[in-house]
Amino acid sequence: MTAENRTLFRRLFEPASVDSQAPAAQVITYALLILWSLVVLVPLYWVLITSFKGAGEVDNGPFYIPFVDFTPSLDAWNFMLLENNTLGPYLNSVVVALVSTVLAVLIGSLAAYALVRIRFQVKLAGVAIFLVLLAAVIGAVASFGIAWELAVGVALALFVIALLTLVRRTRLAVGNNDVEFWIISNRIMPPIVAVLPIYVMFQQLRLLDTQVALIATYTAVNLPIVVWLTRDFFAAIPLDLEESAEIDGASKFRVFFTIALPLVRSGLVATFLLVLILAWNEYLLALFLSNAKAQTMPVLVSAQNTTRGPQWWNMSVLIVVMIAPVVLISTILQRHIARGLLVGAVKG
């Protein structure tokens, strides 16, 4: 090896400074990153160009580049948006996702704030009696055909009596951390376990296949995430401001809405976006709880998959309009959404 070759070798494989990479390593790094960029982009590109194709371009395909190897047309877009019933489910998705997210963030952050700032003592005996009575009511109504109004009334009366007598005398209590853990642990439960009774419940209330049913259920399933994330945002703000406001006579609710919430604004935005996208993408619950009137986009896509499966162009339009908002949001507001994920993961 000549001296000249050796210096070339060194320049290729050794970094110029501590803070940089060797040129050879750098080439490999960029190559791998660009490869994964293609993995990310190809599916999105394919679904986008397919939405501008027609039957001919798909069946005689594959064609890859619009204007070069096929002429794009808006036929599928016209058909799906004007003739097919796509806008109804789209509107459902928007309403359900937005309203349920607002509710979940509101209820969840209220609970998270209280759990961070106010000390709780929940008597274990009270919880146990409540669960026993609930199970008894379910058993009585389901097996012995007792009217549910009667069963609930008796149980409620028994519960109040127990609260006033027995429970007061017990010592064993759970604190804030336990309540918080219970709320968050609800996320471990697979939704399929809960969805059957929820279905029956909404059927009895004649709310099946309405937006209300979906909004209520989505609020509940996303609540644990909101509590989990926002509790840390609240814990991070200094106590002084709230304390001085309370000394001035402001109520806890006032402090929450006028001082605490504005202080965690950016954290709330992160939580809101994350939950919004989860609600937008949700499939299983919507599959059970909606079929025609309240159908959301994921259910529409999966239903049309069985009827229009081979019509790639039409399906692609549906998918593009379904994923365009989330892709846009996650591209523009990536920093905010990622912040929500990070808080959850780093604390655990």
């Binding site: 990479q21 199970a135 996320r187 697979p190 009774p197 059970f288 896509v301 998959n305 994923i323």
Partner: protein, 379 residues
């Protein structure tokens, strides 16, 4: 109390109520969340337990529920539905028995080491016995159904999605995060781009991958034709169909691992790494001794989060393959959904409860045996 307030003037009464509300603000603030969760989680959970123990039948003007004990579970574990949940058992050869013995020995070794360390508690021992029993039971089913002549059921499919899927996603995510953590330009561009798939609707991903993987009209069809693959279709073979579901799932979830691990890598102190580099440490040594210990707690936590969600998989198999061929790609959630559609509410609830047991024990075990030690490691 009420009697005294009644006699007060209206303004004072109003103030009294506001004061009471303020004193009770803690419970009042938490109450909405608790009520929502009671209505949509605890109450349904109890009803589901009852449903799983009863037979549901449509009757004129409504339906009837008959309490039948553990029949639904027995049907799934040993009876007529065994093939569906657990799968069809194959012929156990020497290889299979050997493998099982190895797994049993490994699990017993873990238990023995815990007991002999001298700090065993009753709860700790009980927890380990439950985890080990579940692990061994599932391993037995897996080995038996993968034996010649066997067909895995939905429980094993779900486990495959969870274990292989999460492992591959973690590996890829970590690799990408390490690459992006290098001193490169355009890191933010890659970060934003790689993040997108996580947010894309799973149902959309499923259909898109169906198009991409089409053997006649898909974008890769010409490539496959040059390799001479024309008649074969991935949708007709169990393993290739499962692979497709895993590819879709990996496309979606690798970004989650990537984005969190990248943040953890960026957070570690630069001084340590520069000092190590000046001392002549190789890239691998730096990763093993500095980076990995720093990101281990976060890594363990995101794997746990991913495990919790991975057990719930349904959208991808349902749209991509419809659970087929046969049962090859059907997950437990999809199994439960199919049972519900055929009016077998008891069976459906029982499958749901089996999933609840498996995923809860698995996630709690992972938390206790991996996440906790990883966090202690940090201190």
């Amino acid at each position: 109390m009420t009697a005294t307030t009644d006699t007060l003037p209206a303004t004072a009464k109003h103030r009294g109520w506001a004061e009471w509300l303020d004193r009770q603000s803690g419970p009042v603030m938490v109450m909405p969340a608790v009520i929502v969760l009671l209505c949509f989680a605890i109450f349904p959970l109890l009803i589901s337990a009852y449903l799983s123990l009863s037979r549901f039948a449509l009757a004129p003007g409504g339906f009837t529920l008959k309490f039948i004990g553990l029949v639904n579970y027995r049907k799934l574990l040993t009876g007529s539905q065994q093939y569906h949940l657990l799968g069809k058992f194959g012929d156990m050869g020497v290889l299979q028995w050997g493998l099982l013995a190895l797994i049993a020995a490994g699990l017993l070794l873990i238990l023995a080491r815990y007991l002999l360390r001298g700090r065993a508690t009753v709860l700790g021992t009980l927890g380990r016995i439950i985890s080990i029993a579940l692990a061994f039971g599932l391993a037995t089913v897996a080995v038996a159904t993968f034996a010649p002549g066997g067909v895995p059921g939905t429980a094993i499919n779900t486990l495959l999605y969870v274990i292989i899927g999460v492992a591959v996603q973690f590996g890829l995510g970590l690799g990408l995060a390490l690459l992006c953590g290098q001193p490169i330009r355009a890191r933010n561009f890659f970060r934003v781009l790689f993040f997108i798939p996580l947010m894309v609707t799973p149902v959309g991903i499923a259909y898109t991958f169906r198009m991409l993987a089409d053997m006649q009209k898909g974008p890769f069809a010409p490539l496959l034709r040059t390799f001479g693959v024309t008649e074969w279709s991935w949708a007709n073979e169990a393993w290739s169909a499962r692979l497709m579901v895993l590819i879709g799932d990996t496309w979606q979830w690798t970004p989650f691992m990537f984005i969190v691990l990248l943040a953890a890598i960026e957070n570690q102190s630069r001084d340590q790494i520069e000092a190590a580099r000046l001392d002549g440490a190789s890239g691998f040594q730096i990763f093993r001794d500095i980076t990995w210990p720093a990101i281990a707690p976060v890594a363990a936590t995101i794997v746990l989060i991913r495990l919790i969600e991975a057990f719930k998989i349904i959208d991808l198999p349902n749209v991509l393959t419809g659970g087929g061929p046969g049962l090859a790609t059907e997950s437990m959630t999809l199994h439960s959904f199919i049972a519900w559609r055929t009016q077998d509410l008891g069976g459906s609830a029982a499958v749901g409860y089996m999933l609840l047991f498996i995923s809860t024990i698995a996630c709690v075990s992972f938390f206790n045996f991996v996440v906790r030690p990883a966090r202690r490691f940090e201190q």
